[in-house]
Symmetry: C2
C-alpha cells in the first residue's frame, strides 16, 4: 500500500530533487508537487519534469497534500513551516530532512502547533548541490533517522517510515537529542574539521596553493570533497547543533592533543596502537554496505 | 632511452609491488630484482610473477643493479641502506619512496656515505597494503617529488626523473625540508586527524560503534578510508616528520578553535565565508586531474 498519494516537496536542492526523482521511480502513481523560493530553481525543476506540478507560491503547493517534506536548510525550516501554516490540510503530515533535529523540531512545532510532525533525516548526500545534482538512487541502502516527539501518533510515524523504505532506505527511530549527538560524530565534526584543514592549508605562507593542489593525492583531497558541500546548509547545521558539536569537538581536541604529545616525545606505540584499532572500523563499514571496498573508493587510475 | 636496465626493489608492499608492475608494463625490457625481509611476502611475489628474480638475501638483490629503490617504511630505511652497503655497485643509484625526506636522507647518507643517493616520494597510494594491493597504474598522473642533496650529480637526478616519468608520473624537485612541510599539510596532518577522529568516535560512551558505522555516510566514512592505511608506515612518518607535523597541527588547532568560538557565539558569517572559500580549492584539484569529479568520488549508488 502507498503510504501517501500526494506528496509536496519544498526546497529543491540535492535532497529535495532526489526525493522527487526517487518517488517518481519507486511510487510512480504518487502525485508530486514542488516548490522552491528561488524562481530559477522552480523553472529548472519544471524543465527537468521531475514533479507533476511546480507551484508559484508555497501555500499553493500544500493545499491537497498528505505529506509535506521541508527540504530547506535547517535555519530556514521555521520560516518554511510558518509559510505553509495557513494552507496546510488538517490531516497532512509534515516532515523534513534537516541534519540537526532538536532545534528543527522546536521551530516546526512553534510554527505549526497542531500539525502532525514527523521529523526525519536521510543520512545520504554528495558534495554537489542544486536540483541537477539529485538522483533517484541516492537513498538506496542508506539510513533514514526519524525523531518523532514523545506521544507522536504511531500511525503517522509508520507511514513516514514506509515512505522512506519505499525509497530504498533503512529506517531507525531515536530521540532528536540522541540524533544530534550521533550525527555530530559521524557527520558534523568531520565536516567542520575538513572545512578547517582546507582553510588552514590555503592560508599558509610557506606552502603555495598550487603545491597543496598538486600533492593533494596524499590524503588532503578526500577532505576537499567534504569541504565542497553546500555552505548555507552547513552553516545552519552548526548553528543548530551547537551543544553536541562543541562537545564532540572538545573530545576530539583532547585526543589530537594526546597524539601531538606522542609525536613530540617519539611515543611510537601510542601511534601504532591507534592506527591499528581504526582499521577495524573501516572493515565494519564496508561489511555493512556503507562504503565502497575498492581502493580509493574506486577512483579511476586511468 | 631507458634510464636504467637493472632495477632492484626492496620492500614489496603497495608501493614496491606497484613499481614492479609499473616497470614491467612501461619498460618491459628492464630486469627486475625484488627482495622483502618477510619470506611470506617474497613467496607471494614469486607466485605473482611480477619480478624476474626474487632473492633470499638483501645483498644478493643489489649486486648487478643500477637503481636500488628502498620501499620500506621510513623508520626502516636506515637499516635497509646499511644492509645493502657491502654489495652495492659503485655506480648504482639509490632511491626510496619514503613519505618523510629529511630524516630519510640523513639515514641513507649515514649508511652509504659515498653512494649516489636521489631520494624520492611518489604522492600516490590507496588504503590497502601488501604485495597484492599494488597495481601498474598507481602512479599515472600523480606527482613524484625528488629531494636531492645540494650538489647531487645532475645526471643521476635526471635518470631518476625519467624513471618516474616513464611510469606515468609528473616529477618535481624541491628540498627535503620543503617537501616535509608540504606533505605535512597535504598528507600527514590529514591522516593524523582522520586516525584521531575515528579513534574519538570509537571511544564515546553515549554513541555506540554500531551507530557510528550505520550513519557513517554523513562524512565519517571518508575519514575511515584514510584511517585504514598501513599503521607501521604511518607511525614512522609521524616520528620522522615531527617538526613540520607539529607546526601544521598547531596552525590547524588555532583555526579549529576559531571555528569553535564562531559556533559558540552563533557567528554564521565566519562559518559561511570559510565554507565558501574551501569550494574553490576542490574545483582546482579536479581541474588539475588530481581527483574524480563524480559525486562521492563515483561511489556506486546501485
Amino acid at each position: 500500500m502507498l503510504p501517501f498519494s500526494r506528496v509536496t516537496v519544498i526546497g529543491l536542492g540535492l535532497i529535495g530533487s532526489s526525493i522527487l526523482r526517487a518517488v517518481r521511480h519507486h511510487m510512480p502513481t504518487v502525485h508530486l508537487t514542488a516548490y522552491d523560493a528561488d524562481p530559477a530553481v522552480r523553472a529548472r525543476v519544471t524543465e527537468l519534469g521531475i514533479a507533476d506540478d511546480v507551484t508559484d507560491t508555497v501555500g499553493a503547493s500544500v493545499i491537497d497534500s498528505d505529506l509535506v517534506m521541508l527540504c530547506v536548510p535547517v535555519g530556514a525550516i521555521g520560516a518554511a513551516a510558518e509559510a505553509i501554516a495557513a494552507d496546510l490540510p488538517a490531516d497532512a503530515i509534515v516532515s523534513d530532512v534537516g541534519g540537526a533535529k532538536l532545534s528543527v523540531l522546536e521551530a516546526m512545532r512553534k510554527a505549526l502547533p497542531d500539525a502532525v510532525i514527523v521529523p526525519g533525516h536521510p543520512v545520504a548526500g554528495t558534495e554537489h548541490s542544486g536540483p541537477d545534482a539529485g538522483f533517484a538512487t541516492l537513498f538506496h541502502g542508506r539510513w533514514c533517522i526519524l525523531t518523532p516527539e514523545e506521544g507522536a501518533p504511531e500511525a503517522a510515524v509508520e507511514r513516514v517510515r514506509t515512505f522512506w523504505e519505499r525509497l530504498g532506505s533503512n529506517v531507525e527511530i531515536m530521540t532528536a537529542r540522541h540524533h544530534d549527538l550521533v550525527l555530530a560524530v559521524t557527520s558534523h565534526v568531520p565536516h567542520l574539521i575538513a572545512y578547517s584543514i582546507v582553510g588552514t592549508a590555503s592560508d599558509l605562507e610557506d606552502v603555495t596553493q598550487g603545491e597543496v593542489i598538486k600533492y593533494s593525492a596524499g590524503g588532503f583531497r578526500d577532505f576537499t570533497r567534504i569541504a565542497a558541500s553546500d555552505p548555507t546548509m552547513w552553516r545552519d547545521v552548526f548553528l543548530n547543533n551547537k551543544e553536541a558539536v562543541l562537545e564532540i569537538l572538545q573530545r576530539l581536541t583532547e585526543d589530537v592533543t594526546a597524539l601531538q604529545r606522542a609525536i613530540r616525545w617519539g611515543d611510537g606505540d601510542t601511534l601504532f596502537n591507534l592506527f591499528t584499532k581504526t582499521r577495524a572500523i573501516r572493515r565494519s563499514i564496508i561489511e555493512q554496505g556503507q562504503d565502497d571496498a575498492r581502493p580509493d573508493f574506486g577512483r579511476t587510475h586511468e
